[in-house]
Structure formats: C-alpha cells, structure tokens
Amino acid sequence: MAVSAGSEIPDLPETHYLDNRIYFDQEIYSQEQSDVFAKVWLFVCHESELAQPGDFRTTLAAGKPVVIVRGQDDVIRTFYNICRHRASPVVRSDAGNATEFQCFYHLWTYGLDGACTGITKPAGYKAVNLDRSKLGLIPIRTETIAGLVFICLNEDAPDLKTFLGDIMDPLMDPLGGEPLDVFHFHKADIATNWKLWQDNNSERYHSMLHVINRKTQPWVKGKTSPMKLRLGENGHSGYWSDGVAEVDYAAGGYAGVSSGILPGLRENEMRVINLFPDTMVNIRSNVIRIDRMVPISPGCTRIEWWGLGLRDVSEEVRSERLRHHNMFWGPAGRNLGEDIIAVEEQWAAMSADVVRYSILAREEELNPTDDANLRAYYQEWGRLTGRAPNAPFDAV
C-alpha cells in the first residue's frame, strides 16, 4: 500500500483542508493581529462587570491595552489604556471603580469620558500653548448586545449588529431575558495557537474525546440528531436544536444540576455559538460559559473563561449551577483539562511540519460532527488576511 507524504496536497476540494503553517508561522500571526483582531468586533466583558458608574475593566485587544468603563452618564466606553503624555498605562489594575483616571507616572488626569482633565504643573507648557482638550484618552468603538460588551478598533467596520447578523438570536432570551451575574472568571496561558482553541470550541467531532460527553450526549455517537450546526454570516456559527435534544445527565450519573433554567431554554438543553474570530458562548440549562482568546504568540494563547447565571436566584440554585459549571468547565473540571491537553499536544506535533495539512472534509448535512462551520470560519479568515487557508504562502 502506498503511503502519501505528509506534505502532499490532499486530494480534496480546496475548502476542505488547511495548511497547518497558519498555526505556527510568525508572519501570519503578526498579520492576524492587524488584519483580523484590529478589524472586527471583539467581545471583552459582560456589562454586569460594569454595573455602577465608574466600574472599569482592563484587558488586551489586538495586542493593545484597553480600559472599558461605565461613565457617570451610564454609557459604557472604551479607551486605549495609554496616557497621552509619555504612553504609560493609565489604569494598572484588572478591575475596580474610579471617579477619574490618573496616570501614576506624571499624574495626568482623565475623566471617565476620556477627557484630559488635569495636567500637573501646567505652567511648564504655556510657552508652547499645549491644548489639553486635544489630549484625551483615545476612544475605541463600544457596543453591547444581550449584556455582552464588544469593542472594535476599526473605525470603518460596520456596526456590531451588522457584524453579528442573526447568530445571536437563540441567545437573546437566555442572555438578555433576566439580569445575569458573573460568578466565575479564570484565565490560563496555554501552549497552542489561538485558532486551535477556537477550532476545538467549534467542531463537535472531538466530543468523543470527553468521556462525560460520550455518556451524556446521545448525539455524540449517533449519525443524525435534532442538534444541528448553524452557519452565520462573517464566519460565525452555532450549534443548537429546534426540537428536543436533551443532555442525558442521568445516564452519566450526574442528575440534579439543572435547576434555575435560563429564560427561553428547555430543561437540559444546550446552545453554543462561536463568534468570529475568538469567542464562544456555550449554554447548558442554567449556566453560561464564555471563552475569549488573547493571542500572546503563535504558540501561546491566553484564554479567559467566564461563568454566568441568573442573578436573582436562591443559594440552592447557585450551588447547583456552580456544581454544573465546575463539573464540565471549571479549572479542575472533567472536560476542560482534556481540551487543553488536546490542543497543546496537537500544536507541539503540528509545529514539526511533518503533517502539513489538516483535513476539514466531513459533510453530514449539518449534523453536529459536520466540518461546515470550520470551513466557513476559515473562508472568513482568508477573506480578511488575503491568504488562502489551504495555500497561505501562494501569491494572492
């Protein structure tokens, strides 16, 4: 039997395989920061993290430090977290409440609306007529939908609603029907490329990796299912059922975790959406997990994980949903550790560049283990980077 070399181009349609170098090439990684992350809307936090005027959060977006803050006028704004004087960070903590922002270095001061409100020893600038009204913090476009706060570094991008299309529709009730709160947040720097985590979050074929999913999700091994992949615009996708498709917790011996169901959901229902380029919202009955990826280098990705649920519920419900969350998705959870091991070891082996191509060729009429959503994602990646995902170094 003849065995093909790992570098041989697969005998498949061009959309059905990827050149694995997109996961470890430094030039492509750098281009992604400017041509993907700096061009589209990015989820940054939940609005309940900014509940009161003055509440702020800091993070990185497209490699740039940003601060998101609720103003005294209740408007959520985002600014580059960089002082206009000598480019020091203005805010140095992850979160908090402020009445103003003051740079720690030379004590320039900014209002919550970004305006520069104070320059220390101003007389020193009189000779050059320095105009502080032109030296506010640099603003970044900010919009919210269903409590999710998004920012966009690109002034020319369409608005958030246009970017998302209708992919958020199945989440509007669960996320927007009643007040939510964030009960969990953790992060880790994992040794993989950011897209491999997004792939893992998007493709359902790997559900077989998880013993707990094999036991509780009837559609993991079955051929057809009411659970279907959904292809959105701009590389977004989803995974939910219009009929009854219950997670069978009892089959795994894990019953009694689902009370306090989110609005619009059936008992033991799952809904997942994967937003291009870097976010997943995964809902199980009473608990919401959100993943966000912050690329650090081609082989290192900071992943941030949120856990959310209904704010106004009893301690009993809180306790039950916490068990539910932690069982699958907590740092010591049953599934999360397996996913991390998978993408880390995958990246290490992939980087050897022996097997040059990944195969995304499953066609199953949008049943869960179809690869159609991965193919759509990489078409959008290709559109933004100007590179063919299957031949990224060919002249475009």
Partner: protein, 157 residues
C-alpha cells in the same frame, strides 16, 4: 500536664493527617485519600479573581460525590505530569473533638521530559473532627494564591 500532653498528641496527629493527605495524592492513592474524610465532609478548591473582584469555588464536592468523581479519573485523557506536594502545617486549634488547622502548600509538576516547575501555591484551611479516636476532615479546602493553573489536572490539589 496530662491535658497539655493530650493537646500535643492531638496536634501532632492533625499535622500527620495533613502530611499523609498530600502523600496519598502524590501517590494517586485516591481510595486511601478518601478515607481521611469524615462521612459528611466536603472538599473544595477556592480561588479569587481580581477581574470580577470576587472569591470563587473551582471544585466543591461532598465525600459521596468525590467517590464517584475519583472512581472515574482513569477514564479521562489526563496530563501525564507528576505532581509533588510540599506541605508545611502552620497551626492547629483544638477544641475537644473538633479542630481547625492551617497549612501552607506548594505543588511542583514534573513533565515527561523531567522538567520540574512550580504548579500551584496556596494554603489548606481545614476543619477536623475526631471520630473513634481518629482525626478526619470535616472540610478540606485548598485556597489558592495561584490563579493561572496550567496544565489542568483531574485530581484534587
């Protein structure tokens, strides 16, 4: 004098329990680890997030739940790294058949190539109960200073 001696013996027995607990996990002797818990006890990993300005529970299970979870550990795809606990018991306050104890701990991880690194650091905050002359956990809480834990483990800390 007799009472002071009894207190010292109790304290040493509690510190011994804490050291043995760590050794059981390092050896992955999970059934033996469970025998160190009282019937109505629980185990917890607690942490905090400055991002959401809140304490969190990363794992909280009753003894009964632990039994099921630990019996399934070998079914998982797991990190092959070896973990080693370094535990320093700090104090034990004894009140009859009940006690509270605090210990500091760190855990190293040695990967399959033999590289060792610090995995997590924190402290155990324990409530204990003496049953039939033997100190057992009423609650065993690993309260982490470390917030970025990677790679994850399917085992308690």
């Amino acid at each position: 004098m007799e009472k002071e001696l009894a207190q010292l013996l109790d304290k040493e027995a509690i510190f011994d329990l804490i050291r043995v607990t760590a050794a059981r996990l390092d050896d992955e002797a999970l059934e033996e680890w469970l025998t160190l818990f009282a019937p109505d006890s629980f185990y917890e990993i607690a942490a905090a997030s400055p991002e959401i300005q809140s304490a969190m529970s990363w794992w909280k299970s009753s003894r009964e739940e632990l039994e099921k979870i630990l019996s399934e550990v070998t079914e998982h795809v797991r990190d092959p790294g070896k973990r080693l606990h370094l535990v320093t018991p700090i104090l034990a306050e004894i009140n009859g058949n009940n006690a509270s104890a605090i210990s500091h701990f760190s855990i190293t991880r040695t990967d399959t190539d033999g590289r060792s690194s610090l995995y997590v650091a924190g402290r155990y905050e324990d409530e204990l109960v003496k049953i039939d002359g033997r100190w057992l956990y009423a609650s065993h809480r690993a309260v982490l200073d470390t917030r970025m834990v990677e790679p994850f483990t399917h085992l308690p800390l």
